[in-house]
């Protein structure tokens, strides 16, 4: 046997697949948005509201990644947008291969914006590139303003952060300024949107950001 020196990251095959997928989406005029958060941060509620607001003038679709069940995909079908449930079979994250299979299965032609609702988890999704054009992280007020200290990688690899459930600020000791300061320390260029999907506060700016990032 001979020795072959490699010196490359274990995830290099995924990184290559992810770059190919990103190019494919660009060519097709699709903006693929990877949404990551811990379980219960309000991904589905934020997306439902966002999809309702955008679906009249944009073609929107949703990939729901979960370990099991299709409860979330059904919610989006009820909203009248294309949706597919991707099961990760126990895996704690989506990778580029799984994302591409879900996209091919669902169909993505003539679609402006596709949300990939990643598995609720703040660790693994940060390490596996899905091939998305935008990586968005969600953190909610009840989770506390110290999340950036506990999960630095997720905060430093995201393009945007949405702070959800700001209508609950009076009930929690969440210091928005402190949270933003901690996030900016990890990632000076990140765009931050405090919102309440329930009251609609702040949703305009977040939706405007998505519109600006369409691949048109």
């Amino acid at each position: 046997m001979k020795i072959i020196e490699l010196k490359e990251s274990v995830t290099v095959s995924n990184d290559r697949d992810a770059d190919k997928l990103r190019q494919k989406m660009l060519k097709n005029g699709v903006c693929l948005v990877n949404i990551m958060s811990s379980p219960g941060a309000g991904k589905t509620t934020l997306l439902s509201k966002t999809v309702s607001d955008l679906k009249n003038d944009l073609t929107v679709a949703v990939i729901e990644a979960d370990i099991a069940s299709d409860v979330d995909a059904v919610k989006f079908e009820d909203l009248g947008v294309k949706s597919i449930q991707a099961h990760t079979d126990g895996m704690c994250h989506m990778d580029a291969g799984m994302t591409e299979r879900a996209l091919d299965e669902m169909g993505y032609s003539n679609t402006d914006l596709i949300f990939l609702e990643n598995v609720g988890n703040l660790i693994c999704p940060a390490e596996f590139d899905t091939g998305a054009n935008l990586n968005v992280m969600i953190t909610s007020v009840p989770e506390g303003d110290d999340k950036p200290l506990k999960y630095p990688l997720m905060f430093s690899t995201s393009d945007a952060l949405v702070i959800t459930k700001i209508d609950t600020l009076p009930y929690f000791t969440f210091d928005t300024e402190k949270c933003i300061e901690r996030v900016r320390k990890l990632n000076p260029n990140i765009k931050i949107f405090p919102v309440s999907a329930k009251t609609g506060e702040g949703m305009n700016k977040w939706e405007e950001y998505l519109r600006q990032n369409l691949n048109k």
């Binding site: 046997m1 001979k2 020795i3 072959i4 020196e5 490699l6 010196k7 490359e8 990251s9 274990v10 995830t11 290099v12 095959s13 995924n14 895996m91 704690c92 994250h93 990778d95 660790i123 693994c124 390490e127 596996f128 200290l149 990688l153 320390k185």
Partner: protein, 131 residues
């Protein structure tokens, strides 16, 4: 907690490499794993042994893991220190403005491989011996 996910990617990367370089069998695979990468080494090896049998080229492979030390840089006093011992707070000046420099990696350092050519070579040797 994401050892299984990494194992599937490692297998895929090696499978692609095998196809590219006409490798028929992979022996020892040496990985460099950062001290704070969150990878549990024993569990990682178990996952590998469970998964490798699905790939002909990998079924006789073994994993060897080398640890890469974690080093943190302090933005305030510009010194480096051991991450595992001191965590996020700089032991020299007490600042929390610190950044991990190394320790989060998982790199394939090298592999032992047998290629189609090697195998054909061996056959030739045997034919010679028979004569």
């Amino acid at each position: 907690m994401h050892e299984m996910g990494i194992v599937t990617h490692l297998a895929k990367t090696l499978d692609e490499l095998a196809a590219e370089q006409k490798i028929v069998k992979i022996g020892k695979v040496t990985l460099q794993v950062g001290e704070v990468s969150g990878i549990m080494t024993d569990y990682f090896v178990d996952c590998w042994d469970y998964f490798k049998v699905r790939h002909t080229v990998l079924k006789d492979s073994t994993l060897e893991l080398e640890t890469l030390p974690a080093v943190t840089f302090c933005d305030n006093c510009k010194k480096n220190y051991e991450t595992v011992k001191y965590g996020r707070t700089c032991p020299y000046c007490g600042s929390g403005e610190t950044w991990l420099i190394t320790g989060n990696e998982c790199i394939i350092k090298q592999i032992e491989a047998e290629t189609e050519d090697d195998r054909n070579g061996e056959k030739n040797v045997r034919t010679d011996e028979m004569r």
